[in-house]
């Protein structure tokens, strides 16, 4: 069908010229599908990502820390909400997306399948996991789909505090007692490699990357983002006297970047396949919350139906009567 080919070519030109695609605009089906998958996956990551940190809210070691952590985890809930909304503009309901998560059909970021074992993990997660996420999210502020881009702008504004609070925890621990310093180093050891994996496999092994770049959904390659993150983070670790657990890590003057060791992708794929330390617990927790909340959601719906005449927007009949 010649006209379709023509449209797709024009679409590519359109996004290449840095125009934003809006919900009512024509878009290739595959573009829409890719976006729904990516945005909903991103939303699920925010929601599942609440769990490992919520794990420490009730044990935060100071009242200030408790408030900060609670506000941070609450923010992630908000991010999930913004992203579900952005995906809904593409014609998929939040219910459908949540269903896909709970049935295991949809993925979320594998990093959240690792356990948070000590308070230092709250530092490492904020510093490294949010840090890596931000690297990706700043890029996505310029993504070609308007609602996604706007959600990311809002999210990025909130994220900057997340990484800083994490780094502050690490800094405090690294300058604390022997035990605290050991706790911080242990957390860095456990979270470093999984954080690098967050950017995904190298681009030559990541089949959708080229298409996403052409559509301007994605603006930088996985490897470039990973490199940026490493270059930024290594001096931050040095500054607080912690050691990155990579014997091959060293500055490469010629490249102007850090060289780093090989990432264990078998671990990555094992976790993606569902065999990480906490995959089962995370999904169970989400399923339980959703199931336990069902009667609450139904109750509010039932109440709204009973009282809709009074509260909701006037029905067409009512506004006609009013106009008359």
């Amino acid at each position: 069908m010649a006209p379709t080919v023509d449209l797709e070519a024009r679409f590519l030109d359109y996004v290449a010229a840095e125009n934003k695609v809006e919900p009512k605009d024509w878009m290739p089906d595959a573009y829409r599908k890719t976006l729904v998958r990516q945005i909903s996956q991103h939303a699920h990551s925010e929601i599942v990502g609440m769990l490992p940190e919520a794990n420490w809210i009730t044990r935060a070691p100071s009242l200030r820390a408790k408030l900060i952590l609670l506000a941070k985890v609450q923010d992630e809930g908000g991010h999930g909400l913004y992203l579900y909304s952005a995906a809904e503009t593409l014609g998929t309901s939040r219910d459908q997306m949540v269903d896909d998560l709970l049935t295991g059909k949809a993925k979320y970021s594998s990093i959240f399948n690792y356990p948070t074992l000590t308070w230092a993990d709250m530092g490492a997660v904020g510093w490294l996991v949010d840090g890596a996420a931000i690297q990706n999210q700043v890029m996505l502020c310029r993504t070609s789909y308007g609602p996604y881009s706007r959600a990311m702008v809002r999210i990025c504004k909130e994220e900057s505090f997340h990484q800083r609070q994490g780094y502050e925890i690490m800094m405090h621990l690294a300058r604390g007692t022997q035990e605290q310093k050991a706790m911080a180093q242990d957390a860095l050891n456990r979270w470093w490699w999984p954080s690098l994996m967050m950017f995904g496999p190298s681009d030559d092994k990541s089949p959708n990357s080229a298409q996403s770049m052409a559509w301007r959904i994605k603006r930088k390659s996985n490897d470039d983002l990973r490199q940026e993150f490493i270059d930024k983070t290594v001096p931050q670790a040095e500054f607080i006297g912690l050691t990155i657990p990579d014997p091959d890590l060293k500055w490469n003057e010629e490249r102007g970047h850090y060289d780093f060791g090989a990432i264990d992708w078998t671990e990555f794929f094992a976790v993606v396949a569902g065999n990480g330390p906490c995959n089962t617990e995370r999904l169970e927790a989400r399923r339980k919350a959703h199931a336990d909340g069902a009667w609450v959601r139904e109750a509010a719906t039932a109440y709204a139906a009973k009282h809709s005449a009074r509260r909701a927007a006037p029905s067409p009949a009512a506004s006609k009567a009013h106009a008359a």
């Binding site: 809006e22 919900p23 605009d25 024509w26 706007r150 900057s160 509010a300």
Partner: protein, 96 residues
């Protein structure tokens, strides 16, 4: 369409300072207008940006079709569209 269980979608508009107009902030799900307004306060003014909030059922919003001259595309069938988010991007993308 959504299953009957899902709460309807609302668009949220916040006026952050006196003298400025309400600006689209995003959307949320709520069972009724009262709850939508309260949830909007929790979700979109967590850093107390808001002085005044409007909520509008997304289904009540009528959106213009894209202008062919500007957008170069013929408008698609309306069924694929759920809700428009048609306000400009704030410029504070800046640093992380």
């Amino acid at each position: 369409m959504s299953t009957p269980e899902q709460w309807p979608l609302w668009e949220v508009f916040v006026r952050s300072k006196n003298g400025l107009s309400h600006k689209h902030s995003g959307s949320l799900h709520a069972p009724d207008a009262e709850m939508a307004l309260k949830n909007a306060r929790d979700v979109y003014t967590r850093r107390s940006e808001g002085t005044s909030i409007w909520v509008v059922p997304s289904s009540a919003i009528v959106a213009s079709a894209p202008d062919e001259k500007e957008v170069l595309f013929t408008p698609s069938d309306d069924k694929v569209y759920r809700h428009p988010t048609f306000y400009e991007i704030p410029d504070e993308v800046g640093h992380m």
